[in-house]
């Protein structure tokens, strides 16, 4: 095998074998697939843990602890408290850490939802209508109706509430048509993406065949 270092050839064969093992799922769930899957899950967890250990626990915490311990003492304490969650009897001690994670995470999500989605999307929809075109109108109506499709508290009944409920139902019905469009597109996009990956895998197998078996 000229030009291919040995380790690469072995690696490619292993990779191709594992690919085939995973693909055997298509023919049905089987021990080969399960073994490959468990290998993957295990290796990924191990790898992620290793990287996390190297880059965060040592890279960030340990090194900071040497240089500027004040900045990491709080997260370090919280992290160690979190480990109490591993013991059911003392688990409540870790509540502080979980509470902290939730607090920060919720704020990040809230900020992202407000500034990342809500405000720009409302603005963009408004702009679409402002541009006065059939498509712009459609986008506006579609967005508003889709949003109304999620309305939770409308009720049937007489009087004003009933009329309002009727309105919510009609707009929601229109919105669901747009939702099906969105789902269809999302589904097709997922199909295209996974088909691309699938083709890439087949290509990989063929390449492996040429490189190692046919070439060697």
């Amino acid at each position: 095998m000229p030009g291919i270092p040995n380790i690469e050839a072995v690696g490619i064969v292993i990779g191709a074998g594992l690919t085939l093992a995973i693909f055997s799922y298509i023919l049905g769930d089987n021990p080969l697939y399960r073994a490959a899957l468990h290998l993957f899950v295990g290796a990924l967890v191990g790898y992620s843990f290793g990287i996390l250990f190297r880059d965060v626990l040592v890279g960030m915490v340990w090194n900071q602890l040497q240089d500027n311990p004040i900045t990491v003492v709080v997260p370090l304490v919280l992290g160690i408290l979190l480990l109490f969650k591993g013991f059911p009897k003392q688990a409540y001690i870790g509540n502080f850490s979980v509470a902290f994670l939730i607090g920060v995470g919720t704020a990040v999500a809230l900020g992202g939802a407000l500034l990342g989605t809500l405000v720009p999307q409302i603005g963009a929809t408004g702009r679409a209508l402002g541009s006065i075109s059939l498509d712009g109108l459609l986008i506006f109506v579609g967005t508003a109706c889709t949003w109304m499709a999620f309305y939770f508290t409308a009720r049937r009944g007489p009087g004003l509430a009933g009329v309002w409920g009727q309105l919510v139902r009609i707009t929601g019905g229109i919105g669901r048509v747009f939702l099906v469009f969105a789902f269809g597109i999302a589904f097709a996009g997922a199909l295209t993406a996974s088909l691309s990956v699938f083709i890439g895998r087949i290509q990989y197998l063929i390449d492996a065949y040429w490189k190692v078996l046919a070439g060697g």
């Binding site: 990040v108 999302a186 996009g189 295209t192 088909l195 699938f198």
Partner: protein, 694 residues
């Protein structure tokens, strides 16, 4: 009308809360618990007090008249588009299929007249899968999860079960025939059904029934083949024999009259499949026996703890148990048992027979059965409940009892009709073959022949409302932004590799033309990522690109460590010291990273560099709303299609245009998938029509 206890206001019947003051209404009850008599709110599936099931298993909650208006019209986008009549059907089906992976197809196919032998064979193979699962379940139920049982291999389990069945059938045939004489005509229905099925005795059938709570709710659907009933008792004998001091070992056992009911039908066909199997008996039985030595080694964490509690609970209830041990007088039969039997006359006959079960493998069955009665007896009347029975144990026993009360309602088997059901396996193989064949086309079609249309990328018209396709506009925006870069020495482009190996097969191809364009413009690319795998993927890709062309050099890119912290990581990457980048290229298959980069870049204000993105086709719809809005994001390339157009614009050579090379396969793959969808739609639409005609 219900009057609120707090404010006295009158409320509509069925209201849960007072319309005036919001107080919970005590009379919000409508369903009377069949077990304890407690009144429960409409919509409750289980009794608030004793946890007994209120709504028959045969019907979904939606089938219950009062709950129906709530459930049936599916409002809102929860898109439960299963038609109502089918919901019920599915509900009935779910009963059957809920826990029996292998049995599903088999059963439904049995009810189909036109099943070919071939399908049968396939299904049989699937039924074998069930045995495996069964071994687990059995272990759980009989002995409280003793590991040894789990190791009983698939084949063995089936074998010894079948063998037990056979053994049992031959030894106690007389007793059963006697029983058969007295069983009423409802049984005759079973018999008829069984005769129909008799031609293909299935090893899987005994398997079906062992799951005790389950088989009861399966009674209805399985009723079409009466074979299902007899095997259930079989597991009991070995246990009881070996551990007589544990008479309560299997409290969930089926009442004996039921064991008697079906065997006469099952017996004739049984010998046929059995003989080859008989040899397995010693081995099979021996694999079971040892565990009986430690049947109480229960593990709380696993499912059987409710069972093991049952074992413990009934003991302090001597009063009801005593008569049962003496052979169960008629008067002791609780009324739920009465409900199970279509005619009381049968019950008498059956109960009389119980003492007859003294020989063969069934010897000792009485010991199993009686505790079952002991559990259920207290539930009939409150007075019978001794105070020492714990609430939890009682409620579980009641749950069991409510289960046992079901068969009456669901013993009307509904034919499971889903049109001519193509076997699960055939469907899978069809889809798999089409997909693989399509992908192999990559090899067969020379890269030069293009079967698809790549639109040329031209300058967009000045007006934003140009008629040009939106995705082409995004592509053009990307191209123009990169083309328009003025790169002074020392300045660089920031490339964020926000994807891992699972997405690399697609995104590498999307990234490649963009990176080639940048490298060709002489840009220095500094690579960043907020994912640990991102760096490794990027290194591999860039190494390959740089090697492919002498024009590019290795020092045109630099790698750093990954930066954890998601959005915060992004913002810290952006403000990190050094010259700010001229351009940010984000490569991702997930909406999060794209959004973080867009947001964080825009947060930098007016001086922030422009952005372009290379995204997965799966992300395109979600990214659309972000792409459409004006801002720092100047353009995007999405999916292989976009990458191919971009490659054409760059006029890359055939060997460098990786995306274009795979576009053939993609185009054909899309066509194949659409063809499959159409075939599937036509197939099932036709079957639906046929069903309607019938």
């Amino acid at each position: 009308m219900i009057h609120c206890p707090k404010c006295g206001a009158a409320n509509r019947r069925g209201s849960r809360f007072c319309n005036e003051c919001g107080e919970a209404l005590p009379m919000r009850t409508a369903l009377r618990c069949p077990m304890c008599g407690t009144m429960n709110p409409v919509g409750n599936v289980y009794c608030d007090r004793c946890h007994a099931r209120l709504i028959p298993m045969a019907a979904l909650p939606s089938a219950e008249p009062e709950a129906e208006p709530e459930q049936a019209p599916i409002k809102g986008p929860s898109l439960s588009t299963i038609p109502l009549e089918e919901q019920r059907e599915r509900a009935a089906e779910d009963k059957v299929t809920g826990t029996e992976p292998g049995g599903v197809d088999w059963l439904s196919d049995l009810s189909e007249p036109g099943v070919t032998a071939e399908t049968g064979a396939i299904e049989e193979a699937e039924a074998e899968e069930a045995a495996d699962w069964l071994a687990q379940l059995r272990a759980t139920e009989v002995t409280g999860e003793t590991e040894a049982v789990e190791e009983v291999e698939t084949g063995k389990t089936e074998d010894w079960l079948a063998a037990l069945r056979e053994d049992d059938a031959s030894k106690s045939v007389e007793a059963r025939v006697a029983g058969a004489d007295e069983t009423g005509d409802w049984l005759a229905e079973f018999r008829d059904a069984a005769l129909e099925e008799a031609e293909e005795p299935e090893p899987a059938v005994p398997v079906e029934a062992v799951d005790i709570p389950d088989w009861l709710r399966d009674m209805g659907p399985i009723g079409s083949d009466a074979e299902a009933a007899p095997p259930a008792p079989e597991p009991a004998p070995p246990v009881v024999e070996a551990a007589p001091e544990e008479p309560v070992a299997a409290p969930g056992e089926i009442p004996e009259w039921l064991q008697e009911v079906a065997p006469p039908e099952a017996a004739p066909p049984a010998p046929e499949p059995a003989p080859p199997v008989v040899e397995a008996v010693p081995e099979g039985v021996s694999s079971v026996r040892p565990l009986v030595e430690f049947p109480v080694e229960t593990e709380i964490s696993e499912a059987p703890d409710w069972l093991s509690e049952l074992e413990a609970e009934p003991l302090p209830t001597p009063a009801p148990a005593a008569p049962a041990l003496e052979g169960i007088a008629f008067a002791e039969i609780p009324d739920w048992m009465q409900a199970m039997r279509p005619r009381p006359a049968q019950a008498e006959a059956i109960v009389e027979e119980e003492p007859l079960e003294t020989g063969g493998l069934l010897r000792g069955l009485r010991g199993v059965i009686t505790p079952a009665f002991a559990i259920e007896a207290p539930l009939v009347g409150e007075s019978a409940v001794p105070p020492e029975v714990r609430e939890a144990g009682l409620s579980r026993a009641q749950l069991l009892q409510s289960l046992l009360a079901q068969p009456d309602e669901i013993s009307q088997p509904k034919p499971l009709m889903r049109g001519p059901r193509v076997s699960e396996r055939i469907q899978r193989w069809l889809v798999a073959i089409v997909l693989i064949a399509t992908a192999i086309l990559i090899v067969l079609t020379a890269p030069g022949i293009s079967m698809f249309y790549i639109p040329p990328l031209t300058q967009p018209a000045a007006a934003p409302e140009s008629s040009q396709r939106m995705d082409l506009q995004h592509l053009m925006g990307t191209y123009d932004t990169i083309q328009g870069l003025s790169l002074a020495p020392g300045e660089s482009v920031l490339a964020a590799f926000e994807y891992g190996p699972t997405e690399a097969d697609e995104l590498n191809l999307v990234a490649e033309p963009l990176l080639r364009h940048l490298l060709g413009r002489g840009a220095h690319i500094s690579i960043v990522s907020t994912r640990p795998e991102g760096m490794t993927v990027a290194a591999g890709l860039l190494e390959r690109i740089v090697e492919s062309d002498d024009q590019y050099t290795k020092d045109q890119y630099s790698l750093t460590n990954y930066r954890p912290g998601n959005a915060t990581g992004v913002s810290q990457l952006l403000v990190s010291p050094g010259t700010p980048p001229n351009l940010i290229l984000v490569l991702t298959a997930q909406p999060g990273p794209l959004r973080w980069w867009i947001e964080q870049t825009q947060a930098q204000g007016e001086d922030a560099p422009p952005m372009v993105a290379g995204v997965s086709a799966a992300l395109e719809p979600a990214a659309g709303p972000y792409l459409a809005g004006a801002g720092k994001l100047k353009g995007a390339v999405s999916g292989l299609g976009g990458a191919a157009v971009y490659e054409r614009k760059l006029a890359l050579s055939d060997s460098d245009a990786s995306a274009t090379r795979q576009l053939n396969a993609l185009a054909v793959g899309h066509t194949a998938i659409v063809a499959l969808i159409i075939v599937g739609a036509v197939l099932y639409a036709l079957s639906g029509l046929r069903r309607r005609e019938e």
